[in-house]
């Protein structure tokens, strides 16, 4: 037909080709008597059964018992009994071990045939090695089981929702969270949606929108009615599953019970608002009373009528009043610092700020008058939030309060920092000194040393204010050799731009 001479294959040649084709496809054949004696076996079978080491050719296997060629892992003679029963057994997955102990699986197609001469019933077997496929399937099953175990034990609800069919899967944790079992919800695939929409009317509209093309994964809180009648709050994280045309066919997601979390958050918020309200009312009213007291004391002290001991008592009362107001100022700062809108960094006249601090300190602590030194450095502006003055004052006051023998020696100076963009404000005191172990603790809120009075607020507020100003504060010893000689608080602040 195509010009080539016609070639006719012999039966023997055809047989070789068939055998090689079967071998290539991982298929083997053998035939044996019902007593197990092998009458025929090809190379493919030899290879699948992995008995090439025992029998160097298919012919060598003839006359041997089939049960000596493998290790049975299931019921012995199972295949023979099935064939006897049905005459033909198709697609039987047979598990066995090789003589070397290796686990294998083979797909069997077996049927009864007869010896042409004797008419004896024989078993003809075609086997295909499916070990790799079975190992993959087992690994997959194991992985699925592991995943299922995770899903079953997950505290959150895992859900799959089909746009056409409704609820397709819901994990067992739904029982603990909603009171409904998975079976109850799966028996009516629309029930879960009906329940959710009854408690959260906006859900129906949101769901319709979610089914529109272009919907992307999202997070939403929804109210769901618990079986006991109470409402629970769930956080839903949902991912849409799409078909080839980008149409949404299902949703998969996680529903997390956030009821307790939300209740706790609301309680905390309520308590915080209440605390702020009390603080605000208290500070406002107390400050007004203090203003009246302070003003009237000032009026008394302004006139000439008050002298001697009475005058000294009025001065003392006035000083304590100012200290009380100073404490109120610190309490007022806490909520102010939390609100970033109050903490805008601006350009601050540092010299004027320090002079104000010194003036306040001398009002409250006249005993510091002789040894509170400040080397004024005018025309220096730094970046800082509005509260910077309070931060610096607190550090000066800390030095006065902890002075040795109640005789404060405070020196305040401004120095250039290692970077031209910064300055260092150094406040040195004659307190008992701060060891290296304690230094990091000093700026923590409510830190107090020994039996000293106070709330432990001042330095923690100072650090917060300085950091919000874009600066930092650290402590060094006044004397490298002797920590007890006092401390130097070094406040590093950024110069305002163009103000070098």
């Amino acid at each position: 037909m195509n010009g080539l001479p016609e070639y006719i294959m012999s039966e023997e040649e055809m047989d070789i080709i068939r055998r090689e084709a079967l071998e290539f496809a991982g298929i083997g054949m053998y035939r044996y008597k019902f007593d197990g004696t092998v009458l025929y076996m090809d190379h493919g079978a030899l290879k699948i059964l992995e008995i090439e080491d025992q029998f160097d050719s298919p012919e060598a296997a003839i006359g041997e018992k089939i049960e000596n060629m493998i290790i049975y892992t299931g019921q012995r003679y199972f295949l023979r009994s099935k064939i006897r029963e049905h005459g033909h057994v198709r697609d039987l997955i047979y598990h066995y071990k090789t003589l070397a102990g290796k686990e294998k699986w083979a797909l069997h197609d077996s049927y009864i045939t007869r010896d042409e001469k004797t008419g004896e019933e024989l078993i003809q077997v075609i086997i295909k090695d499916i070990t790799e496929m079975m190992l993959t399937r087992l690994a997959l099953r194991e992985s699925e089981e592991r995943f299922q175990r995770l899903v079953n034990s997950a505290p959150d609800i895992i859900i799959r929702w089909s746009v056409d069919k409704g609820l397709e899967y819901i994990s067992p944790s739904v029982s603990d969270i909603t009171g409904y079992t998975p079976d109850e919800l799966l028996s009516d695939p629309m029930l879960v949606m009906k329940l959710a929409c009854s408690a959260d009317p906006k859900l129906e509209r949101d769901y319709r929108e979610a089914c529109e093309p272009g919907f992307t994964p999202y997070k939403r809180e929804l109210v769901f009615p618990h079986k006991n009648g109470s409402d629970i709050l769930l956080e839903a994280r949902v991912t849409p599953l799409k078909d080839e045309k980008d149409g949404i066919i299902a949703f998969e997601g996680i529903l997390r019970d956030i009821t307790e979390k939300v209740i706790a958050e609301r309680k905390i918020l309520g308590a915080k608002q209440l605390a702020e309200l009390y603080l605000d009312l208290m500070l406002h009213d107390i400050t007004n009373f203090n203003q009246i007291c302070l003003g009237n004391l000032d009026l008394m002290l302004t006139g000439a009528g008050l002298a001697g001991k009475e005058r000294a008592l009025a001065v003392k009362a006035r000083r304590q009043l100012l200290k009380s107001e100073n404490l109120i100022s610190k309490l007022r700062i806490i909520p102010e610092l939390e609100n970033d809108l109050n903490n805008i960094v601006m350009s601050i006249d540092l010299d004027k700020t320090i002079r104000n601090c010194v003036e306040t300190a001398l009002h409250l602590y006249p005993e510091a008058a002789d040894n509170l030194r400040y080397e004024s450095r005018e025309e220096l502006t730094v970046n800082g939030i509005d509260l910077l003055e309070q931060a610096i004052y607190n550090i000066i006051e800390n030095g006065i309060k902890h002075a040795a023998d109640k005789k404060p020696e405070i020196s305040i100076e401004i120095k250039d920092a290692d970077s031209a963009d910064f300055i260092e404000l150094r406040v040195a005191d004659n307190g008992p000194g701060i060891s290296d172990e304690i230094k990091p603790e000093v700026f923590k809120r409510q830190f107090r040393r020994g039996k000293k009075k106070g709330l432990g607020l001042g330095l923690s507020l100072s650090r917060d204010i300085i950091e919000k100003s874009g600066g930092s504060v650290r402590i060094e010893n006044r004397d490298d050799e002797d920590v007890s000689k006092g401390s130097i608080f070094i406040i590093r602040l950024r110069r305002s731009s163009g103000a070098h």
Binding site: T287, Q291, N296
Partner: protein, 124 residues
């Protein structure tokens, strides 16, 4: 100087009166809330040189009252005094010439009044 005092705390109003009168100033009127302050301000025969205004008061607060007064009399010179520091920017935005945080000493109050009075005279 003519001073108009607005505060809902009667004892505080008394102190302000004593303080400014001690320094030779005249209290031309007082009010106990923002609404009364606006009404009385425009009823005064002689406009005050300085209004000393509290912020947190019933009916109408100090910032609202300040804005209303300045809306009609742009030359009004109002000092807002409050314990609440957080309203400072709002007070200045409303047109107050100064925000004073309570409590303040007598010296500082009088010094402020004098400063603003002098400034007022210079401007005139």
């Amino acid at each position: 100087m003519n001073i108009f005092i607005v505060d809902d705390e009667a004892e505080l109003v008394d102190f302000y009166i004593n303080a400014v009168e001690l320094d030779g100033h005249i209290v031309v009127g007082t009010a106990a809330d923002g609404e009364e302050a606006v009404k009385k301000y425009f009823e005064l025969k002689q406009r005050p040189d300085i209004v000393l205004m509290d912020h947190r008061m019933p009916i109408k607060n100090g910032i609202e009252a300040t804005a209303e007064i300045l809306n009609v009399d742009a030359d009004a010179r109002i000092i807002i005094a409050s314990a609440d520091r957080s309203i400072r920017d709002d007070a200045l935005m409303a047109g107050a010439i100064e925000f004073k945080q309570k409590p303040f000493s007598l010296d500082k109050l009088l010094m402020n009044i004098i400063e603003h009075a002098l400034l007022s005279e210079t401007c005139q």
